[in-house]
Symmetry: C2
Subunit: 343 residues, 2 copies
């Protein structure tokens, strides 16, 4: 466990503070809830009753790119982060089965360079268009004193729509159901504070695999929209999860009811090479691996066993990664075999 | 003009770069527009056809608090910036006559402190509740390396709804109409890079007026929602503008057609004392005053002359600040008398 604390401390990210902040927000927000605000399944996106349309809901989510932005800024590779951001947001609302309507970006810099700004926003625009989603607006803020020269931040908000009857229901999940995993192409948008701590900047342009560390680190966060819609055509999808910050250990349980657990077998899929570097260099424990990194699974879907073959055949790279089992008492809600050891 | 460039350069904000970025965005975004994206009146909020409801539209806007955040952070006064942000967003979509449905925040820090985070989000939650608007979600990002210790950024996205028939139409504005101004209480959320350059931090806690410079600088961006609705009950409001970055000179024309201009008389309203300090210390030219600062007017409404008396009586502090006149050729679309001189 001491290595665990060392690794997080090295990354400068305080998991306990994050959880404490969420607890504080619950207190703040618990004081009042709008009557049209609907229960959010797993909290990936917020649901709001569609005005004048009882059958549908609007679904919204705000997210950022995290410190992946610092690598992109240092390497002056600007167009990917916009696609990272939009795809991340699309996946978040896809968990409640929503299709995107429109997106707005927030781009903040210390010193505005119109060419760089246009490259960043172009990335957003391209990813929006790929989803038939309007880039409805945005804000470009020049804030000297807040951002260092060359640095910037990028966040975005997506709004989508869903038939309320089609919002996944965790009560449908039964022991014996399969967990399908869609492959991750890299870190996506999580684990970058750790990655920057473990892979120093002077290594970024060195060869790694078929390309460089930079290429592996900046590999784009994919959209799972088309893959999920393809699987839904041939299989009954019960619940889904977008594997972002918190990894499989924290995201999978967000759409599982207390009486079930997921048991995964890591031998069924590959851990991306760039993540193996972080695991080796950081001496990450099993818990750290699966809580900080996606470990090669970007998105999960729970389907009945009879639909498994059709589901995995529908999308290249889709795999059965484990099963739903009955959960007793306070058992962990996600177990991943084999247990990893950093020794 | 040299003083003008000096003052902007001092603030570290590059107006030309901002305009160039907007021009670049137009090129990027001009390549494709979603069929449900509607013409945005003045660009204060983006309009999107309400799915399945031809009579209504969703209206969305993203904004930040700007470098006011640095003053709040240094003074450790955290709850006001959330209200600043929500009120700013409410006013932006109010320009197209929209009422808020829901809001999402983006809060980014270098090192997460749960108490500070809760104070910031509480401010958002309180301002949302005051407008019957759901705080539907948000993102808290811990990004070591991007934000200095104690610093943070805050942005937000609001989504509202409007009857499409009630969206203001610039074609309704005629010479002889009056421009009603609602009073600003201070800088609101603009001009803070200039303010930080001209009022050094060691002065912030010194007396200013009845309080301190800090109090004047952090005075909250008010919501004009109730005031506008009160005026709309007694007057026919043709177009409106939220006076933010760019001041009266840039925001008022956003909802005026080319054939009309606004002629304002500054003797009709007061410039807030904190803005007079910036004008004096910075030696701001007329152009700089009215393009960088709100100069005491936070929101404008154009009404027919016969409705003026009822409109100004409906809201304390509302004043007739000028008139609409016919515009010839390339005349300035906003003229403010008297011309200010920094000499």
């Amino acid at each position: 466990m001491s290595e665990s604390k060392d690794a997080y401390a090295l990354a400068g990210v305080d998991i306990a503070a994050g959880n404490a902040a969420v607890a504080q927000y619950r207190t703040v927000l618990g004081r009042w809830q709008h009557p049209d605000q609907l229960d959010a399944i797993g909290g990936f996106g917020g649901l709001f009753a569609m005005p004048g349309d009882a059958a549908r809901a609007l679904v919204a989510s705000t997210d950022g790119v995290g410190t992946k932005i610092l690598i992109a800024a240092e390497l002056q590779r600007y167009d990917g982060v916009g696609r990272d951001l939009v795809n991340h947001c699309v996946n978040d609302i896809l968990v409640v089965n929503a299709s995107p309507l429109f997106f707005l970006d927030y781009y903040a810099v210390g010193k505005l360079d119109p060419e760089i700004a246009a490259a960043v926003v172009s990335g957003c625009a391209n990813a929006c268009r790929a989803h038939g989603c309007a880039l409805l607006g945005g804000e470009t803020a020049e804030m000297p004193g807040l951002y260092a020269p060359g640095h910037f931040d990028l966040a975005g908000t997506i709004v989508g729509i869903v038939d309320r009857a089609a919002v996944p229901n965790p009560d449908d999940v039964e022991p014996g159901d399969a967990v399908i995993g869609l492959p991750a192409v890299g870190l996506h948008t999580n684990g970058y504070s750790l990655a920057r701590a473990l892979i120093p900047q002077d290594e970024w342009l060195q060869p790694f695999g078929d390309a460089t560390y930079a290429d592996a680190l900046l590999a784009e966060h994919p959209s799972y929209f088309e893959a999920v819609r393809a699987i839904q055509k041939v299989a009954s999808v019960k619940v889904m999860a977008h594997i972002t910050g918190g990894g499989l250990l924290e995201n999978l349980p967000r759409t599982l009811r207390p009486a079930v657990k997921a048991v995964l077998e890591q031998s069924r899929w590959q851990v991306p090479a760039i993540q193996q570097v972080l695991i080796d260099r950081g001496g990450l424990t099993h818990e750290e691996c699966y809580r900080t990194l996606n470990m090669g699974i970007g998105y999960t879907l729970v389907v009945p066993v009879e639909d498994v073959a059709r589901a995995v055949a529908a999308v290249p790279g889709a795999k059965t990664i484990g099963w739903i089992e009955a959960r007793a008492g306070e058992e962990a809600q996600v177990t991943i075999h084999p247990a990893r050891s950093s020794d």
